[in-house]
């Protein structure tokens, strides 16, 4: 045990002596979250919209008033028929069209429900989603207001139609994605590099010829990165929450347990890479191409998995990042508990076990 902690201590010395890497480790997540946060902002102000009011009654009027006075929307055009929707979108001047069905107030009164169609231009899914949420919130608020004095409840059903990207899987929730990427980078890349570094510089030769158990060498190497990754995750969560108002609705302990699970997944990936790579350069290239790209591109972070061609979908489904991103997103945004996430968690544990077994099988107690 003394050997083990002596080795962990040595690993921390390596990390803290390497100032450049340390700056990258902590600077990069912060810079990335700020860039993501400000560049892909959720805040949309004075977006141009068009209204197609087929009813033109008191209720639709007051909803339109609510929308136009919210500060988020500018009513750019009033349309007369459904055909004009396509035309007005094509001009690119309008981001959203709100359609009130005919006889709106009438239906609300007799059927206790009426429909509003919200059509967004989802070529930019981020803005599209945001606009939709704003609109439906305004409608919900209005509905609550009238229901305070009205029994039984009246139901206004907003129906979303996202044009040009019907799935609306966007980047708007960047914090879960960012945590995934950073953890992959720190854990898998840094461990694989630092393990191959021992091989490349020859210190592995001395360690192997010593009574230090090779397995302990690895465990003591990953512990500092585990701790470091937890700190970095906390930094991202704090900045995301306090600077950008990203909610953390779910159980924080569950969130951290899942984060730790994913860290172990990424660490075992790093170990696996290091058992194969002979030089730091190879480890770096494999980590970048083999891990970073799939994490960013094939995990549903940027591109929706459902829209991918089948081979890429398969990769996305064996990619642990895919599941972790769902888990973090659902815990943070939806506030889901383990009862909804046990499937993803089980898959992640399964992948991790496979990776650990594979790295143990590939690990060599000798030089070759």
């Amino acid at each position: 045990m003394k050997r083990f902690w002596g080795f962990v201590h040595k690993e921390f010395l390596h990390i803290f002596r390497d100032k450049r890497t340390l700056i990258i480790l902590f600077g990069m997540p912060i810079i990335q979250i700020l860039l993501f946060g400000y560049a892909i902002t959720n805040e949309v102000r004075n977006a141009n919209i068009a209204i197609l009011d087929l009813s033109k009654d008191a209720v639709t009027n007051s909803i339109i008033n609510k929308i136009s006075s919210s500060g988020y929307f500018m009513i750019y055009d009033n349309l007369d028929n459904l055909d004009e929707i396509e035309t007005v979108f094509k001009t690119g001047k309008v981001k959203e069209v709100i359609v009130f069905e005919s006889g709106f107030a009438q239906k609300l009164k007799s059927n206790k429900k009426a429909e509003i169609q919200i059509i967004t231009d989802a070529t930019d899914p981020n803005t599209g989603t945001t606009l939709y949420f704003y609109t439906s919130n305004i409608i919900k608020n209005y509905q609550m207001e009238i229901n305070l004095v009205q029994q039984p409840f009246l139901n206004i059903i907003p129906e979303i139609q996202a044009r040009y990207n019907p799935l609306l899987k966007g980047v708007y929730l960047f914090v879960p994605g960012l945590i995934t990427i950073i953890l992959m980078l720190v854990c898998a890349m840094m461990t694989s590099i630092s393990l191959t570094k021992e091989k490349e510089l020859g210190s592995m030769e001395v360690l192997l010829a010593s009574p230090m158990k090779p397995f302990l060498v690895i465990i003591s190497k990953v512990i500092p990165y585990l701790i470091l990754s937890l700190i970095i995750s906390t930094v991202i969560l704090l900045i995301g929450h306090y600077n950008f108002g990203v909610p953390i609705r779910g159980n924080l302990i569950l969130l951290y347990l899942e984060i730790t699970l994913f860290i172990i997944t990424a660490l075992s990936l790093g170990i696996l890479i290091s058992t194969k790579a002979q030089t730091q350069q190879v480890a770096l290239m494999v980590s970048l191409a083999g891990l970073m790209l799939p994490t960013i591109l094939l995990s549903g972070f940027i591109f929706p998995i459902e829209n991918m061609p089948l081979p890429l979908q398969i990769i996305a489904h064996i990619n642990p990042s895919t599941y972790f991103m769902i888990i973090v997103r659902d815990i943070m945004i939806k506030g889901s508990g383990l009862e909804f996430l046990w499937q993803e968690t089980a898959i992640l544990i399964g992948i991790t076990l496979v990776l650990i077994i594979a790295s143990i099988k590939n690990f060599r107690i000798r030089l070759q």
Binding site: R3, F7, K10, S203, V206, A209, I365, R366, Q368
Partner: protein
């Protein structure tokens, strides 16, 4: 006499390249055993097999009475090993490196300080300096200290003096002699033939084969021919002339002179060679009969 290392027909090849061919050596208790051979002779492969770092293709070996394949864990506990390349942590200080290795071997610096003291005291004033910033000689001393920190019975050193200045080389061999006095058996490899005489026994290795195992003196004594050191005003012409001489056996440059052996076993008339060289336009010719060194023996055996 106790046997510390014993190998039986060890073979090792890397793909089509045979690195070791039927290696049989024994190292006795308390001796400095030299593994002498040029680069690529197979020294490192043999040392890595004995330190349990690689497996032989076939053959067996015992180190400290332990089998290198089955008892590799015990062997790793018992031996001190210093690889050919400086393999300590360059970003850790001298003291941190030594402490780390003490911890790895489950001991402390203080516990075995008497053994490493003569060596470590020479670099102790730099103990807060990072290992990467040490000179070559100091790095070797630190690496040796780290290899000795657990008081091993057997010390295995792979080319410890390669790339080290002559003064540090001499110091290093003096340290090895002191360690031998402390009862440690030492297996050391080197490409420098002149270091052979500093060993108790040597194995000459070339192309993966052991050419000879004996004391340095008996290897020299076994040199079968008379050896001449010849010099002249033009080295290049001298070599060509000697190689074309009808009775020439071996012709090797040796610093400023050429070492020459003759094919005839009978007494050679040096005047005859002198005359032949003069006929070849060479001047300032000097011919002396000399005693063979290890390098001459090596060349003869190749």
């Amino acid at each position: 006499m106790k046997t510390i290392i014993e190998t039986n027909n060890i073979n090792k090849s890397y793909g089509a390249v045979t690195a070791l061919h039927d290696i049989n050596i024994t190292v006795n208790d308390g001796e400095i055993f030299g593994l002498i051979g040029p680069d690529g002779a197979g020294k490192t492969s043999l040392i890595r097999i004995l330190t349990t770092l690689i497996l032989p293709d076939n053959g067996s070996a015992n180190v400290l009475g332990l089998d290198i394949i089955n008892d590799f864990k015990s062997i790793r506990n018992e031996i001190g090993y210093m690889p050919g390349r400086f393999s300590l942590y360059q970003d850790l200080t001298v003291e941190e490196n030594l402490k780390l290795f003490a911890t790895i071997f489950g001991t402390t610096i203080e516990e075995n300080y008497d053994l490493v003291k003569p060596i470590y005291s020479q670099i102790e004033s730099f103990k807060n300096r990072k290992a990467g910033q040490l000179s070559g000689g100091m790095k070797q001393k630190l690496a040796l200290s780290c290899a000795l920190i657990h008081k091993p019975k057997l010390l295995i050193l792979d080319e410890p003096t390669t790339g080290v200045d002559p003064v540090s080389r001499k110091e290093f061999w003096d340290m090895l002699k002191d360690l031998k006095k402390a009862g440690i058996t030492i297996l050391v490899s080197t490409p420098y033939m002149d270091e052979a005489s500093l060993c108790d026994r040597v194995a000459l290795i070339q192309g993966g084969k052991i050419l000879s195992v004996s004391t340095p003196q008996s290897i020299i004594d076994a040199f079968p021919k008379k050896l001449y050191s010849i010099s002249a005003d033009n080295m290049h012409k001298l070599i060509i002339a000697l190689r074309n001489f009808e009775f020439s056996n071996t012709v090797f440059t040796f610093g400023e002179t050429v070492h020459y052996t003759d094919r005839r076993n009978s007494v050679i008339q040096t005047g005859e060679i002198m005359k032949y060289l003069q006929n070849n336009d060479l001047k300032e010719i000097k011919i002396n009969e000399i005693n063979a060194g290890i390098e001459d023996c090596f060349m003869e055996m190749m």
